[in-house]
């Protein structure tokens, strides 16, 4: 028996895909992905229409999808994150019904519970055998972890693996196993390695980012959570990465041995593990070549599924074991609500990803961001879109110092004890307004809802409106 079929078209035919169904994709090939476009073109050529696409994230390399939306091949979109080019189109209102935004944790939960039913999952795999045992850890298009693809493979009615590196059965390293796979397709290339992962994740030199990072690291030290067994997550953004760098210095100086770092893993976190700051890395997604290399060779670098990472219906998750998470924000309001979905003009340019999940779970959730970007204030009266509710956010760190959610008086006391500069959120807003002036709120906002943002319990957290 072989599951190998000769083309994507044959896989689509055999899967039984029909108009009106839901198909899914993962985003581990990030900006270098060829698979979504190849599959969608084949579907369009076959005359199938009215599909819902559930993609864990979309990047600007997926712009051809916008044409499939315009011509009716795709009429529904569910995702966790979209990049700026796609977001601009969606904000213009090209889809007749609202985009559904989930978190990285809610997506696999909803897939597993059937709330979000997937008829056919088309999953890119950097290496696979002909029965569908596959991995992202090796191959010419290696991307590392396949964490976001696992729920799709397990719960879709039909699962199609698409690879450019077919190896003899059985594949030794199996991220997704054959028991979930229906068909395997070999193509010339699944993606452009340059777009899949960045070569290196560089430390920022921006003095403001470094200042923020230094305060962030000191606040973590002051929180009392930084001790043996410490667990940590941070993003790949400038200030977040720099905060990890300062934290590394503190941990090494004090001889603190952390338990694990979680999340999207960068080479910098790999270095922290290798230098003894952490025992393990729990990896749902690799961000750069160093992380990919590490997950392929180091057994302490553990691949986990998105459900295991942060699924709200999971029996337990890695996110629940987190001490501290450092996250970014495009806007934050005086109630500590964070927006990572839209820019200051109201255009969609992101999404929660795991932001909302880990913020809800970690013992201390810290947002790091400059108080102004290009004369746009970070702190506003009401964010354009609530991506992560203020009840999940404990601390904001800007170049001015720390700002603490009034609910966390314990942290406020600690930070004062450590003589960190402390600002009230309203005070910070006043400084920002003084520097930047007050912009018109959403001058081009239309009345039509173009996206619904779901909270971790599946309720609607906020709505995003069309930009005229």
């Amino acid at each position: 028996m072989s599951k190998l079929v000769s083309s994507i078209q044959e896989a689509i035919e055999k899967s039984g895909l029909k108009s009106g169904m839901c198909i899914s994709f993962h985003h581990h090939l990030r900006g270098g992905d060829y698979v979504l476009n190849m599959v969608m073109q084949a579907i369009a050529d076959m005359g199938i229409r009215d599909l819902t696409v559930n993609a864990s994230s979309l990047f600007d390399c997926h712009m051809p999808l916008m044409d499939h939306i315009r011509n009716g091949v795709v009429t529904g979109l569910e995702t966790d994150y979209v990049s700026g080019g796609i977001g601009r189109e969606l904000s213009a209102g090209i889809l007749p019904k609202p985009v559904v935004f989930r978190t990285h944790g809610l997506r696999p939960s909803d897939i597993a519970t059937g709330k979000s039913h997937i008829d056919v999952a088309f999953l890119a795999a950097p290496t696979s055998d002909e029965m569908g045992n596959c991995t992202g850890k090796c191959g010419p298009s290696a991307c590392g972890s396949l964490g976001y693809a696992m729920a799709d493979a397990m719960y879709a009615d039909k699962t199609v693996i698409i690879t450019d590196n077919l190896v003899p059965y059985p594949l030794e390293k199996q991220s997704i196993t054959e028991d979930y796979v229906d068909y395997v397709v070999k193509v010339d290339s699944i993606g452009d390695p340059k777009g899949i992962v960045s070569g290196t994740t560089r430390m920022p030199k921006d003095p403001v980012a470094l200042r923020i990072a230094a305060y962030a690291a000191k606040a973590i030290e002051a929180s009392g959570l930084l001790k043996d067994g410490f667990s940590f997550q941070t993003g790949a953004g400038g200030a977040s990465l720099a905060a990890a760098s300062y934290l590394k210095d503190i941990m090494l100086k004090k001889g603190i041995k952390g338990s694990f770092a979680l999340g999207g893993i960068t080479g910098y976190l790999v270095e922290m593990m290798e230098s003894g700051c952490f025992e393990y890395l729990q990896d749902v997604q690799c961000f750069d070549l160093k992380a990919v290399d590490s997950i392929n060779r180091d057994p302490r670098h553990i691949e986990i599924s998105a459900l295991h990472y942060a699924g709200p219906t999971a029996k337990s998750t890695a996110a629940q074991a987190l001490d501290v998470v450092v996250l970014g924000a495009t806007q934050m309001d005086v109630n500590f609500n964070v927006n990572v979905h839209t820019n200051s003009s109201g255009y969609i340019m992101g999404g929660s990803g795991g932001h909302t999940d880990v913020a809800a779970c970690a013992k201390m959730t810290m947002i790091v961001a400059p108080l102004s970007r290009a004369r746009m204030s970070l702190v506003v009266d009401r964010v354009n879109c609530i991506s992560t509710p203020g009840s999940s956010v404990d601390v904001l760190v800007t170049q001015y110092g720390v700002t603490v959610n009034p609910a966390r008086t314990d942290l406020l006391e600690r930070f004062k004890e450590w003589k960190l500069p402390v600002y009230d959120i309203h005070e910070l807003k006043e400084i920002a307004d003084g520097l930047n002036g007050m912009p018109d709120p959403n001058p081009n906002r239309g009345d039509r809802v173009v996206a619904e943002v779901l909270d971790r319990d599946g309720s609607i957290l906020d709505r995003i409106y069309q930009v005229l």
């Binding site: 030199k205 003095p207 403001v208 470094l210 200042r211 230094a214 305060y215 000191k218 102004s372 170049q399 001015y400 110092g401 450590w418 003589k419 960190l420 500069p421 520097l435």
Partner: protein, 291 residues
């Protein structure tokens, strides 16, 4: 306390707006070398607006002026002095006449604007061989004088020698400036270390400056600030010793002793003065970054 003086180009709003948050004790808003001739007006206006509308709590503002040999300095003063920066920094100061000319012009503007004469201080940048030789006269040339600052790049050009990281070529100028400043009762500040990637070199050069008697050092990049601050901040041992000095004096008084000793050494006036300086700095450095 002026451990660090961070240079910021006078025509870069992004840098200026965050200038007071980068950890330095002073910022130098530069109208001189960092600004090209066709941008002098824009920089002057931006610096003036900055002085008018931004606050830099806990951070002193110094404005570096264009030289007296340029057509810009008078306009610099007219625009800047009425807005009362803490300090102005004249460049290529070669003798006391330079400071006297500047002082007179500043006095005129202060009087015109109803500002008490002498409000704005002067920190002279000495960067010529003549300036080094006349350092003491310069330091005594005006009541506004708060310090002298060594500019090594221009100085070595004037001396016709190469500028090195080791700094042997400026050893004389360093010693001379510190001596002149201390004799005049003001402070001396060391030149910036220009290789921003060489953190070890920066630390070594800063330690050397401190050992020679400088009160602080200029930084040309915000990444240099923490290192310089750390070197020029009193260490825990220094603070402890300073506390012991005052405790010993106190106990000596109680016991009616005329002379007091600590750790086998007589506590004399210079020891007390140094201990007071250390405790004063420690008091000002309440926390924050760096440790």
């Amino acid at each position: 306390m002026r451990r660090t003086m961070l240079f910021l180009p006078g025509n870069n709003p992004n840098m200026i707006v965050n200038g007071g948050l980068l950890g330095s004790d002073s910022i130098i808003l530069d109208l001189e070398d960092a600004v090209s001739p066709d941008n002098k007006d824009a920089a002057r206006n931006l610096v003036a607006q900055t002085l008018k509308s931004l606050k830099f709590p806990g951070c002193e503002v110094i404005v570096r002026l264009n030289g007296l040999d340029t057509p810009y300095w008078k306009d610099d003063l007219k625009k800047i002095i009425p807005l009362k920066p803490d300090v102005v920094m004249p460049t290529k100061v070669s003798g006391k006449e330079y400071i006297e000319t500047l002082d007179a012009a500043m006095t005129e503007i202060e009087e015109e604007n109803g500002i008490p004469v002498g409000t704005v201080k002067i920190l002279a940048l000495i960067e010529t061989a003549a300036g080094v030789e006349h350092a003491y006269d310069i330091a005594c040339a005006s009541k506004r004088m708060t310090g002298v600052f060594l500019g090594a790049e221009d100085l070595t050009a004037d001396l016709r020698c190469a500028r090195t990281k080791e700094g042997g070529e400026i050893a004389y100028a360093r010693g001379r400036l510190v001596c002149a400043a201390r004799a005049a009762g003001i402070d001396a500040y060391d030149c910036p270390f220009t290789d921003v990637e060489d953190t070890e070199g920066l630390e070594k050069d800063t330690r050397l400056a401190k050992s020679l008697g400088f009160s602080g050092k200029a930084a040309i990049n915000p990444r240099q600030v923490d290192c310089i601050n750390q070197v020029f901040s009193p260490t825990a041992a220094e603070i402890e010793y300073a506390k012991e000095v005052f405790k010993a004096i106190e106990e000596g008084k109680k016991q009616g002793k005329g002379a007091v000793s600590l750790r086998g050494k007589m506590i004399d006036a210079p020891i007390v003065s140094r201990a007071a300086t250390v405790l004063d700095m420690a008091e000002k450095l309440g926390g924050g970054i760096p440790e």
